[in-house]
Symmetry: C2
Subunit: 393 residues, 2 copies
């Protein structure tokens, strides 16, 4: 405790184009950022059915940009399609990847972008090798959640052994990202809530730190959370609320390009624990986080009661209990759970369809660091993970 | 009132390098961003006396980077030195400008960068012509105030007629900016407070808007203000408080790269009115803003009482007076004035050394738009400017 603000670098060079109809300018921005032969990468049928893909293709054609298409990205994007994309890029000398979709599509596009400029196996980058250079990536975002549109991160699953691994590099930050909130209006309430939970988790993972007195970062974290708490219930009850969709979409970027995280240590344990839940039960990442995060908070709260009390008071509107700060801290966690419930998220194992008898296996599988621990706020061992999962029963 | 969130673009490609000793990496970053023949641009003797310039030069030499030097930038940087810099760049085929100093030095460097790639008179850019391309600029920041280290803006004064004009372009955003809070620790309290006032003004100019429901931007604005209110008094009483200096330095960037301003109209009237005060009395920009801003707030408050009440409650910690929201709104403005006074800023004409009899001339000179008005929140005419200045008596 008590460390001073860390030295840091902050680099978010993506050109963000925000607002209605902006997908029709995809071709314009590809040209601006030097693309001429493009791979359009997307997921399932919804971008086709909605007409989005056609609008994007029309915008490329209008600019005289050649393109190939590769659809079929699944949630938790797979290495098989990445290899296909890399081959397409190399064979056809493509120089730009346009991802049309959510975080999975963008992460898959980043993997292709790195692999297309590399002679070896792209999976090397997901096993620790640094990405030196990559094709440029642009995005047309359709889901507010992962923040991949503004980050240099990518998570891909290797079919062989179903290994889920991530990489991160400045070279993988998108050249541009088109954010049209209207594109998220067709998303079902459950997926919207899962995305919102992921966004809030990205902030919490930066909020809980032992680095003291990084006031700007603290306040920016709280700012994003306050906006989410106000806006998410609106879109759950009215999916067509443009302003609320817009705020959530922008919050999703702000929550993860690291502007709310600089200058201090972070703690990503909840994300790591959740990966095992979605691997075993094939649940949505956001739903898993809704179950894990309040349990993690409850387990680690005592490590810094005042930080949890601050969250409760500043974000959840609780009154400070000056005689019993831990009461305020606890109340904040309760409010978070009530909020999650109110937007339709599960907050315990039964809500998720998870089983008590799996807990030891889940804890055993959780990928700790080489020293057998993880976490920048509180160091956790396997037994701690198990204790946390039991709190989520 | 009641407009929806505006479409917008957000582009902040600068690589920020934050923390102790980072000026020693200036050469490394110049190389990384493609510079090889550099103009080092700076102001007066303080960067020489402190040894900062020597450290920066050593870091360039270590990387084998050739450089020339051009010092002598004044507060409110002048066109004469810009012309000299442009000639140096052109004659010696320089390809990068490194600004070592505060906002004036950086603004001057940007003007040189634009002029060096242009056959005509660089002043064209300050009279409305768009900057197409420019040499790359890097910065080593020594004053937390203007936010020029993260913006594409530049303000220069033409000696002929003492015309103060600004330009803005994506091409003028620095390639990298080195922010070492220690470099600001030698700044006298008055200049520190002036810089802090400028930073807070940059936020207020984005906070007062008629665009409704841009929650993320609203909360981010309040976040920066809350951090400033906590940190600035600390450095006034203890100039060596590293964490407080660090928060203020980072806040200065965040306040002006537009992350706290996207999606809505802004109102820069107070900045425009202040320009006439500093032109006539040669006062510091921040001190002028401390006088103008509370008066402007008082004058326009009725346009949107609830927004001012929100500021009072969320930022200044006032209690909402639900029967009389205007009472809370007014209290917020009073708290702002008390805060300014507490950090040593003037809040009226006499504190600034300004004179009542100059008011009509000041109002007449204030540069309104072509239609004789200005302001994105409340449209002001010359008579309004005069009324505002009278409120500052």
């Amino acid at each position: 405790m008590g460390k001073n603000m860390n030295n840091f670098t902050f680099y978010s060079p993506t050109y963000f184009v925000f607002g209605r109809d902006q997908e029709n300018n995809a071709g314009h921005y590809i040209k601006r950022f030097g693309g001429s032969r493009v791979l359009i990468h997307y997921g399932g049928g919804s971008v086709i059915r909605s007409g989005l893909l056609d609008r994007v293709k029309a915008s490329l054609s209008k600019e005289g940009i050649e393109f190939l298409e590769l659809g079929g990205v699944m949630p938790n994007p797979r290495s098989g399609l990445v290899y296909q994309g890399i081959e397409l890029c190399k064979k056809n000398s493509l120089d730009f990847i346009l991802a049309v979709g959510g975080g999975s599509v963008i992460d898959s596009a980043k993997a292709i972008a790195a692999g297309a400029k590399y002679d070896g196996d792209f999976w090397d980058f997901y096993e620790g090798k640094s990405v030196g250079e990559a094709l440029k990536v642009g995005t047309v975002l359709t889901i507010s959640a992962a923040g991949s549109e503004g980050s240099g991160d990518s998570v891909v699953t290797k079919e062989e052994g179903m290994l889920k691994r991530g990489t991160g590099s400045e070279a993988l930050r998108p050249a541009f990202s088109i954010l049209n909130p209207e594109l998220t209006q067709t998303l079902p309430a459950y997926q919207t809530a899962c995305g919102a939970t992921d966004i809030m988790a990205h902030v919490f993972e930066r909020y809980f730190t032992n680095t003291q007195e990084v006031e700007v970062t603290d306040r920016l974290c709280e700012a994003v959370l306050l906006a989410m708490i106000k806006e998410v219930p609106k879109v759950i009850s009215n999916p067509d609320d443009y302003n609320a969709r817009a705020n959530i979409m922008w919050a999703g970027m702000v929550a993860h390009n690291n502007i709310v995280g600089v200058g201090r240590d972070q703690d990503w344990s909840s994300h790591v624990i959740e990966h095992e839940l979605s691997a075993l039960y094939d649940c949505a990442h956001g739903a898993g986080l809704a179950v894990v995060f309040p349990a993690w908070m409850t387990y680690v709260m005592k490590h810094d009661i005042n930080r949890f009390a601050q969250l409760a008071v500043r974000v959840w509107g609780c009154h400070m209990d000056f005689s019993h700060p831990e009461a305020a801290a606890k109340e904040g966690i309760e409010r978070f759970k009530l909020f999650l419930t109110s937007i339709g998220m599960p907050v315990n194992f039964s809500g998720l369809g998870a089983k008590e008898e799996d807990i030891s296996v889940l804890a055993e599988k959780t990928g700790l660091g080489k020293d057998g621990t993880m976490g920048g706020f509180v160091r956790l061992k396997t037994q701690d993970v198990e204790n946390i999962l039991r709190l989520a029963l």
